[in-house]
Structure formats: C-alpha cells, structure tokens
Homo-oligomer: 257 residues x 2
C-alpha cells in the first residue's frame, strides 16, 4: 500500500495547502491552519480537461475548510493536470476536437462516452488507493466522515462508479454536463447515500432528459435535484444548498485564524 | 376600491396575526410585533382543498416574519376555507372524488384542469383587490417590495396567472403537484422575475414531464428547479434555499422580541 508523500506546503487565508503524491498520483490536500483532527474529508473531482487546482474547485475547497473546518482532497484524473498523456488520451482528445469542429454530434457523444468510461476505470482504483493513504495520516484516520464533493462532468463520471463501490463515502454531490451512459445509470441504481445533483438546464451537447434519467436512477431516498439555466461551461449557480455536505458529514465550525 | 377591515388580532412568539376582510374575501396578515414599516410583503397561496391558515403555510409565514421581518398575507381561495361553496365548487369536487374512486385518471385530470382554471379566474382579481387594499395600509404602502410565496398545487395554478399580469410581484415561488394546462404554460412564458420552482419528483397523478415543461417555460433568466423524491401530499423538502425571497425582496432582519 502506498502512503502519502508531501511534496510542497503553502498557506493563505487560514488554509494550509499541501501537494502530495500517492505512488504516481499527484494530489493536493487543503486543511485549516488551526488543525483538523478527524474533521470530515471531502474528495473533490475536477471537470474534463481541467485539473486538481482549477479556480472553481479551489474556491469550493477553501469555503469548506474555512467555513466548516473540513479537509478537502483533490487528485489529477488520468491524462489530466500533471499526469502524462497516454496514446489513448491523445487519440480521444483529437477525436473529440475533430467531431466538434465537423459538427458530428453522434461521433462526439460516442467518443465522449468511451473516453469517460476509460478514465473512470483508471481513476476509481486511484481514488481508493489515495483514500487508503489519506486514512493513514493521523489527522484524518478512519474516523473522519467522507463525502464526494463533485463536480459536474468528468467529476461525476468518475464519482458515480467510485461512490457505488466505496462504502466509506456517505454523501455525494454529482451533476450533469456529460453523457450518462448505461453503465453509469446502472451504478447510480446501487447508490443509496444522500445525493445533491446539479443540472445545467440548457447544456449545449447533452440532452436534458438523459441527465434527468440519471437523477431518477439513484436509489437514495434523500436526493435533491438543483437546476439553473445555462450550459455547464458558463452556468452561474444560484440558490444552492451549501450546507448539504456539512449536514450529512457533521458540522465542525472552526474559529477563523 | 375596498379597504382592509381587520376583524381579529392575536399575537404569539413575536408575530402579530390579524384576520381581515377585503370586501367579502377573508384574509390574514402576519407581521413582526416589533413593527414592519414598508417591509417586504409576501403573498402566500394555499394548496387545493386547504385554506389560509394551513399549518405548513403558517410555519413558512412565521419564519418569514421572525427571521426576516417580512409581512405575509394569505387569503382563502374561492370555495375554500371560510368562503361559501358555489354549485360549481360542489360539482367539481364531487366529480374529482368520483373519478379518483373509479380510478378514471383522464376524467380526474380534465376536471382538475377545468376547476383550476375557474378558481384562478376568480382568484386573480381577488388577489389584485387585496393587494390594492393592503397597499393602503400605512405600514405597507406602495414602497414595500412584493413577492409571491407559493405554495405548490392550487397556489401555483393561481400564482402563475397572477404574477404574469401583476408587475408589483418581483419574485415568486411556484411548484408542481397539479396539471399544468396550456394557458398556464403560456402565462409562464410571460414571467421574467426570479423564480424558485419546487417539484415533487414522484407525484402520484401528475406526469413529471409536464411539470418540467412548465419550469422550462418561464422566461426568467434567474430560475431554480428544486426537486425531492415524493408525492406533493407527503413530500419532505430538504436542502431548500430559504433565502430566495430575502435575496430578491431585500433583507430586513428584526431583533427578536
């Protein structure tokens, strides 16, 4: 089993940011300067083509740390951020660009789906190894409640199969903006933990009904669909329930430092 | 023009409750004991078969008064609460009961739609007359921002045509649980104010797609769909944005008395 190897540390506005490696997986851990003994841990996914320190992801992470005293972890998905690109990654991206340019919607969808399945197959065991390693840290341990913090698109395409097989995750935020394939819908039917699902109402590429079918598939008795107008790249969320994770993982308000 | 005639007054937990009549329309006004000069006014609709002092409605009204210092008004819809039942009301209700008992879903829907249209045709001018009268009260006046506070079912079947023609309403909460007919969808396309839309995801009688089409129809650039599992009669809402109306009508936090 790999352990967490910290490679850099900075801090700002009450948040300690530590870069780490688990084997070859690059990750980052955010936690309160004031300490975080067994505080809830939120695993944060990033969108397709993005990386673990994307501004929107960091903003949500900082909010969870400073408002609730949580610890937040993010890793680069395979072929993303600081990860090497395999021939498969290169080929899939070239195919996606070409289909988009040519306006070939069916090709775009089928390449997207195949690539998302491949990324999730690689990413799910990586998240599990990362979680194993993080739980060896004394400030996290096995007592910290664990949630999956999104985001939409690739973060959900990876997060759903992860949550379906990972009993340590007890609440999850998912979302739309990608093509929910049959295996993903099937994985959703095996998820029973509380779910918050964020749907961009007017996605440019993804049919709304398929995302609604995905929300419908979760077996969770406690699930909330939240939709706002817009495409997933430009949406401005409003009226979001920002206390979803604190409510389910336990509140632990820190004194600002 | 009718004026507000107060008929009873009580107070509890910092909330003054005043029953009133505007012409023959019975209503109730909740406001902070500590005063409410030109505080935002929320018009609250009740569900089908219910009345202006239904417990869930009163709970939301008390919360708006004590948390935000708002004034809240509710009236009995035609044929509901303290209002007389016309022959049309009696006939529609008998028809609904019979269709339900016989499991005649199409008859149930067509009677529901016709009755909702008739109730809204009577209720919209009544709400406008009530609003005219309330604005004559010095503590409300014409400066108080005005919102429509729901609820689902009949409250929305009346609230949508009201909001579509009433420029004084600048934010509205609507919801599902009833059959959205063509004229209602058309009225929604003329609404541009911020909307919060509450959808019971598993309504026993109402097809989910028709409610999603209603949400889709609002011309508002700022609109939020919030769905939780359940039928409209038994749903337990969670993760709701309770600051929707304060955000759009202006916050006015009172000191608890």
């Amino acid at each position: 089993m790999h352990s967490v190897r910290f490679t850099a540390e900075t801090s700002s506005n009450g948040v300690v940011e530590r870069d780490f490696l688990v084997g070859e997986i690059p990750g980052v851990l955010w936690s309160p300067v004031s300490g975080s003994d067994h505080a809830p841990l939120v695993l944060m996914g990033h969108g397709g083509g993005l990386h673990k320190k994307t501004p929107a992801l960091m903003a949500r992470a900082h909010d969870l740390v400073t408002t609730w005293g949580f610890t937040v972890a993010a890793v680069d998905a395979p072929g993303h951020g600081d990860r090497p690109c395999t021939a498969e990654d290169e080929q899939a991206r070239a195919g996606l660009r070409q289909a988009l340019t040519a306006g070939e919607n069916e090709a775009f969808e089928s390449i997207s789906v195949r690539y998302a399945i491949s990324l999730a197959e690689r990413a799910v065991p990586e998240w599990q190894a990362t979680l194993d390693a993080l739980q060896q840290l004394p400030e996290i341990g096995t007592e910290a409640p664990i949630g999956y913090g999104g985001g939409i698109t690739l973060g959900t395409a990876i997060g759903i199969p992860l949550t379906a097989i990972e009993p340590r995750i007890t609440a999850a935020i998912f979302g739309g903006g990608f093509f929910p394939h049959v295996a993903l819908i099937e994985a959703a039917t095996r998820i029973t933990v509380p779910i918050q699902f964020l749907l961009p109402w007017d996605d440019e590429h993804v049919d709304r009904q398929s995302s609604l079918a995905l929300f419908d598939a979760f077996a969770s008795t406690e699930k909330t669909l939240h939709a706002n107008p817009g495409d997933h790249r430009t949406i401005r969320w409003h009226g979001l329930d920002n206390e979803f994770l604190p409510r389910h993982l336990g509140r632990r308000v820190t004194t600002p430092s």
